[in-house]
């Protein structure tokens, strides 16, 4: 077994943080903005007003980025296990975590 | 060339291996075992390991308990040495990480045990043997120099001119037969409970080491002393540890009566009393069962008569804290819960007091050959071993044998004897010829079962001369039939049929020695009870049985005086 430095502990912390963020925030947000509002069950909230506060905007960037890291981490490992593509792990990692990072940047651009 | 070759990877073998490695890291030490070491039967020991640590306890008291428990057949110099070293070995195990159960202040906890006057049994809940074996095994992994032959089966010792030069072994996985030259050999293969039909012993306990030594010319000692543990589960023979009684369990007959009071074992008290009633020695408790059976006070089951072990009054919390494995075993294998149900139990063959004759360092009369653990007889167990003495025994004598064998290897550095390769080739020819030889005789299992029933009938809890004499003939005949047994498997890879046949051969040799020694001992002592000679006879038999293999393969029994130092033979008193 090789002994070497690994990025996994940091990635795992981001994954875990993202898991908590996703668990706490995403079900209610997708229910409201993806289902109840478009279906007309509740009225249309003013998103611009909600994101007026800079703290809220920062929180959204952090939460979205973490959630994307969470998804990236699981997609990386699950695709390796389901599709037997462990040998391209490095490429997958770059694509997945790179995508997550890009998503975070886009969120920041949208909000600021 | 191996310096110290250890046959057997249980507690004694692993302790010996570490001792060799610690003595001299330059020595080549190897452990050959027919199973992975952590599968060895030490793993099944439950109740605990005795070692004097209490402030109110003394070495002399432990000596006395052991010697009287052994009905004065123990060598007292060996007992004194053993009991003095036992606590050190148990602490050594603690230093290696054994998870001993603890007192609230962090000290190691001790519990009472059968035949012991003081609380001195160290325990790791009721998986003491398991923890001890795994601690030892994991500790051996620290010593890179300990070489392992896992799943190799030794079929023969190479002996020339009174000295051992190695062994021949089969790699079970490939069928390869190899001669392993060695400067010294330690046998640590455990006992041979499988010569009986109903035993707590694992399938692997077929007396291989005893047979190897016996065939090589070393004598076996005190083979007639077979310990029946009073509480085994019917059908499986699974052991319900003595700790269950030490924690307060009661033995009751079909009328709910604590019958031990009728057999000079004291009067019932609600809480356990040392050296009394359920905490009497195993031989006396097992004998009491037979009398209950004769009085019609046992319960009939499809698997024979039983009495009950009652733990219900201990309550769930205490059972879970102190004897959780008992509950686990009862639930998984007997479909009952000891917190609410009675446990059916009957005496079951558990331990061989006898074994390969050795001195205090585990040395046999063959130079360079050592033995330790249940396979050996030093003797500290005499006519009846006390519960919780066998685990410290494997540690103390495993270490001593390891140190002695290392010393022997260091002082005997000459080249390999010419006999080695010749004997190795002989054995290879024999084994190759055997594998799937197409013989269509009886099935191994049928022969094994017949041997087991012969032994149970003749050398059970009570024995008698005529039956023993008949068993001598039956076993000789069985040995003949076994040589013609049916062998279908011609595969070299993991051929367990050939292995079973070789084990049967070992068991038959050992069975013959048990019966021969029992026939020769015309007295009753400890675990050896003759209905035709009911009294202990110190004038004639304050002596060990020593059995050699005669040239025709039959056992030849002699006597060897017992070493008495400070405790002259007396009466065994329990509960008074």
């Amino acid at each position: 077994m090789r002994r070497k430095r690994t990025a996994e502990p940091y990635l795992w912390l981001l994954f875990s943080g993202g898991g908590v963020a996703a668990a706490f925030f995403l079900p209610v947000l997708i229910l409201l903005f993806g289902v109840l509002v478009p279906a007309g069950v509740v009225g249309r909230p003013d998103v611009a007003a909600l994101t007026e506060n800079v703290v809220v905007r920062l929180a959204i960037v952090v939460i979205f980025t973490l959630c994307l890291f969470h998804a990236a981490h699981r997609i990386r490992f699950t695709s390796e296990e389901l599709l037997n593509i462990g040998r391209i792990d490095l490429l997958l990692a770059v694509v997945c975590y790179g995508g997550a990072l890009a998503g975070g940047v886009v969120t920041a651009v949208l909000l600021f | 060339m191996i310096d110290v070759l250890i046959v057997g990877g249980g507690g004694a073998g692993l302790r010996a291996a570490i001792a060799v490695a610690e003595c001299d890291p330059t020595l080549e030490v190897a452990v050959v075992s027919k199973v992975y070491p952590m599968r060895s039967h030490t793993v099944s020991a439950e109740g605990g390991a005795a070692g004097v640590i209490g402030v109110d306890d003394t070495l002399d008291e432990h000596c006395y308990d052991t010697i009287s428990g052994g009905d004065w057949l123990c060598d007292q110099d060996a007992v004194e040495m053993f009991i003095a070293e036992a606590p050190k070995e148990l602490i050594q195990l603690e230093h290696w990480g054994c998870p001993w159960s603890r007192e609230p202040d962090g000290r190691v906890a001790v519990r009472p045990f059968g035949g012991m006057k003081k609380e001195r049994t160290w325990y790791a809940a009721d998986k003491t043997g398991f923890h001890l074996l795994h601690t030892l095994f994991q500790t051996t992994l620290k010593y890179g120099e300990i070489k392992r032959y896992d799943e190799w089966y030794v079929t023969r010792l190479i002996v020339d001119d009174g000295r051992v030069y190695g062994a021949v072994a089969v790699d079970i996985r490939t069928g390869r037969i190899e001669t392993i030259p060695a400067r010294s050999v330690i046998l640590a293969t455990g006992g041979c409970g499988k010569i009986f039909p109903f035993t707590t012993n694992a399938a692997i306990k077929t007396g291989d080491g005893m047979a190897l030594a016996y065939r090589a010319g070393a004598p076996l000692k005190d083979m007639e002393f077979v310990q029946y543990h009073p509480t085994g589960l019917p059908f499986t023979g699974i052991l319900i540890t003595e700790a269950a009684r030490a924690e307060g369990g009661w033995l009751i007959n079909k009328d709910g009566y604590r019958y031990l009071q009728d057999y000079d074992l004291g009067t019932p008290t609600p809480t356990p009393k040392l050296r009394s009633m359920e905490l009497g020695p195993r031989d006396r408790l097992s004998q009491a069962f037979v009398h209950e059976q004769h009085r019609g006070r046992t319960v009939e089951t499809p698997y024979g008569p039983v009495v009950y072990l009652d733990l219900r009054h201990l309550g769930e919390a205490r059972i879970d804290a102190r004897i959780p494995f008992v509950r686990e075993l009862c639930r998984s294998y007997q479909n009952l819960d000891p917190a609410t149900d009675l446990i059916p139990v009957r005496p079951v063959v558990h331990y061989m007091m006898g074994g390969i004759h050795t001195d205090l360092d585990g040395a046999t009369p063959i130079a360079g050959l050592y033995a330790a653990g249940e396979t050996a007889c030093v003797s500290i167990n005499g006519a009846n071993r006390l519960g919780s003495n066998s685990l410290p025994e494997i540690l103390v004598f495993g270490r001593r044998a390891g140190v002695a064998a290392a010393e022997f290897a260091r002082s005997h550095r000459q080249a390999e004897a010419p006999a080695v390769q010749a004997q190795g080739r002989d054995e290879e020819r024999r084994l190759t010829h055997l594998r799937g030889d197409g013989k269509k005789g009886e099935r191994i299992a049928d022969l094994r079962e017949e041997m087991q029933h012969t032994l149970e009938g003749a050398a059970g809890i009570y024995r008698t001369g005529d039956v023993l004499a008949k068993a001598v003939d039956s076993l000789a005949e069985l040995r003949q039939r076994a040589s013609e047994a049916r062998l279908d498997d011609s595969s070299t890879a993991f051929n367990t049929e050939l292995l079973n046949w070789l084990e049967l051969g070992c068991m038959l040799d050992i069975a013959e020695t048990v019966v021969a020694c029992a026939l020769n001992r015309t007295e009753s002592r400890g675990a050896h009870q003759r209905t035709d000679f009911e009294q202990r006879d110190d004038a004639g038999f304050l002596a060990h049985s020593l059995v050699h293999r005669a040239p025709d393969g039959s056992p030849s029994v002699g006597l060897l005086p017992v070493t008495i130092t400070r405790w002259p033979p007396g009466e065994r008193v329990y509960g008074r």
């Binding site: 490992f77 | 990480g97 896992d150 059908f235 494995f325 367990t496």
Partner: protein, 253 residues
Amino acid sequence: MTDTAETIRQQAAARTIRLEVARYRPEQDGEPVFQSYDVPLMDDWAVLDGLNYVKDRLDGTLSFRWSCRMGICGSCGMNVNGEPRLTCGTFFTEYGDGPIRIEPLKGFPVIRDLVVDIDDFLVKLQHVQPWLIREGEELPLTAEYAQTPEQLEAYKQYSMCINCLLCYSACPVYVLDPDFLGPAAIALAQRYNLDSRDQGDRFDLLNLDEAVWGCTFVGECTRACPKHVDPAEAIQRYKLTAAIRSILPWSRR
């Protein structure tokens, strides 16, 4: 096996159950084939009793490992109807009228019939340094290291591993990638990490892609474990430990 011959003879004719046993004899089989045996359907028999009936009375060439038949030696793990089980503690009553399909443990090379090669595990076990590591001078053999019942409780569960390897067989990560250190080895590393007497540091041995980070937390190891060791928990706990160690390098354990 015990003194059951007479009982078997009385009841054997009555009902039987079919065992479909994987056979692999390297000299003749390119891959495993199934062979069926009908054995007496006894209420109190375990699958292992059925296999022993086959070995003793029907077919002496069947090979499998077993020893203590009380669930503590860890030898008799096999795949029973697709699940890794200790065959000594898996009873016929669970399977109605059968048939029962018995295969070697998944994830290991098969040596013969139901016997698999587990040497890989022994290498991994040694890798995690499963022994008590002390710094400085040893205590003399007259005194034990103090350890309170609470300190014992902190690692006891992980010390219950019998190395039966059902957890490896249950672990899809190990089955797909044999380099993965695996559940039992990590649980045993934690057994020592959490022992108050141990002063070792197994961070470099466990903080590896093929060690704790290989685990994707399927959790089946814990379900398969007959001794309630909960290896999945051991691994997750070390992930947290290793993650904290990585961002706060001065923290210990």
